[in-house]
Subunit: 341 residues, 2 copies
DNA sequence: GTTAGCAGTCGAGAATATTGAGTGCTAAAC
DNA sequence: GTTTAGCACTCAATATTCTCGACTGCTAAC
């Protein structure tokens, strides 16, 4: 459908617009990229590309700007080369090397690094609790009336919670709790901590409600727990020319401030590959003026969290995708937390 | 120095400016507050108040706007009555009642509530680790090569960390660790976890470096740990007319995004009372166009965290102070976490 | 299919005019 | 001495007009 030259010109226009944030004129294309043809020829091609929906004009006599369809084409078919420097590779390696104490920590470091290199606002969320397999449960007595409950899952995730009681707990009771909970739950998915578990423990242990109830309550809270959202470089976006529009800037802050929306964004990506949502492609219409790019921090089929970038539609997709790909690969290699020992 | 009428007029101007964000004219004062005197009289008083530095003009023929000194006078001497409704009191009571699982959680709930009622951006930070007294230390074996280290302090703060090893750990080793660590550290301030502790443990236990080193490292990290900043209602500020200025909006996002700055803000308040910093009064010049109001979540002399509001200089001090006072009082009463049991 | 050339469009920015919300000051009234 | 009416003056904000020039689209020639 599109001949080689038109494809090139489309790519050049998107590149140029990403670089300058100004509508791109035929003259600029000739000057910087296509010295062999005249601006009139470029204009003809541009008119064609506009008719096909890849380009738009901001007003009748302006240069061209990519449409959502134009960006999509650019991302899907025109971007081929990686866009990541040796320095950036070295920087990422250094950052991700072994320093994290936990999966969540590693995801955070990756999120920060991603923001540092791309200069966009990045965001991440830890692994989903649901679906994880319980490897071990442990209750630890702290003082006389406080327990810490700890769950270790197959992905290496460790979750803990404090449980308080109105009466004293004995060491023997703790041992018994450990025995029964592990007996029932080891190897089971974490969702098995539910009402039926409470019944089971009641039946087997016959402890007072005052002891069993708080434990079950807290453990349930633990697995339903809202994920912690980690945000980095919110201020960086404000340097971008699109945020000169107060309206847009306000929308952006609103988005970042709305937890549910952020979780939505981070939970849409299912595949392990990089997901790209450009403008209207986002499910949520609040995001119609922005682009979102996400990927899963995962090892094998284990979901260890999701990391994303939120920025203007005029995003440096090339850089963003290249850097994400590399970080994703490194996270996979750097699999410290999935070792079975 | 200021007669009664001038004080009233100053208060009225500040009130009016807080309410409308528009420079206040003599006519408005007569219309809304001082129906007995003429606008010319008000103008004379305003000129006087300006000469004394309490008021400013935005340009030669504009109405008056409070200066920093004016706000300071307003806050220190002119605000007397509480400004909190029964509904608000009920709402706060409901929110703070018993629902938190930990001090940090309670602080977060209070922070959110404060933002909901005042419609300003609020921020908080958990209790400072330093200075806390260790009540108990516990190591728990998870799997064969992973420990969880737990510290419980006198304020009820529970901190935990994961420690990973390259070799297996036995249950006996864990028992011994528990014994020696508690023996050495119970009743001591948390800073005692340092190099000399490492020596002591080495001397007494003679375990391999491979075991001792990671433990000490992680425990040290735990106490140095950067506090988690909790931010609520960043978007609310953007509805305010002062944030029409892109410059100011950008500064604001920058401030919220800079952890060090936020910690600075939250760490300046020493006394238990409410601290108010208006514009230039802030130590950091990034904050010169904003006001910061903070108070400590504390019980007795125990610091359990700090909560603050960041907003425009034209802040509703009356409401903010009243609500903070009430929340502060409630947090004190609601002292679930300081019970010795 | 390509290109030169030119008319036409329209946003951006500068220059100017208009309005009206304020003040400060003066002189008279209290 | 304090208060007030009255009026001249100031100045931001807004609207109006003008000019400029960066573009395109189209036509006709190559």
């Amino acid at each position: 459908m599109l001949d080689e030259r038109k494809r090139n010109i489309l790519k050049e226009i998107v590149d140029e617009y990403i670089a300058t944030a100004e509508p791109v004129s035929s003259a600029v294309i000739v000057e910087k990229y296509e010295s062999n043809i005249s601006s009139a020829t470029v204009r003809n091609d541009m008119a064609e590309l506009e008719k096909l929906g890849y380009l738009e004009k901001t007003h009748a006599s302006s240069g061209r700007v990519p449409s959502a369809k134009g960006y999509r084409m650019y991302v899907d078919e025109l971007l081929k080369d990686d866009n990541i420097s040796l320095e950036e590779i070295k920087y990422i390696q250094e950052k991700l090397e072994n320093k994290a104490d936990s999966i969540e920590e590693l995801t955070k470091i990756a999120t920060t690094t991603l923001s540092e290199i791309t200069h966009y606002t990045t965001v991440s969320v830890g692994p989903k609790t649901s679906g994880q397999i319980i490897e071990e449960i442990k209750f630890v007595l702290l003082g006389n009336r406080m327990l810490m409950g700890i769950i270790v899952t197959d992905t290496g995730l460790v979750k803990e919670t404090i449980i308080k009681f109105d009466e004293d707990i004995t060491a023997e009771q703790v041992d018994t709790l450990n025995y029964y909970f592990n007996n029932k739950l080891q190897g089971e998915p974490i969702e098995k901590i539910d009402a039926s578990l409470e019944e089971y423990i009641f039946r087997e242990l016959k402890y007072s409600v005052k002891i069993i109830r708080p434990i079950i309550e807290q453990m349930k809270k633990l697995i339903q727990e809202e994920e912690n959202i980690y945000l980095e470089g919110a201020n960086k976006s404000f340097e971008l020319p699109e945020f000169k529009s107060l309206e847009l800037a306000k929308n952006f802050v609103n988005i970042l401030d709305t937890k549910e929306l952020m979780l939505d964004i981070l939970n849409t990506g299912f595949a392990e590959d990089i997901q790209i949502y450009i403008g209207d492609e986002n499910d949520n219409k609040e995001l119609k003026d922005f682009s979102v790019v996400t990927f899963k921090h995962s090892v094998g089929d284990k979901d260890l969290g999701t990391i994303g970038i939120i920025g203007p539609k005029r995003m440096n997709y090339s850089k963003v995708i290249s850097v994400m790909k590399y970080i994703s690969k490194k996270l996979n290699e750097n699999d410290n937390f999935n070792k079975k020992d």
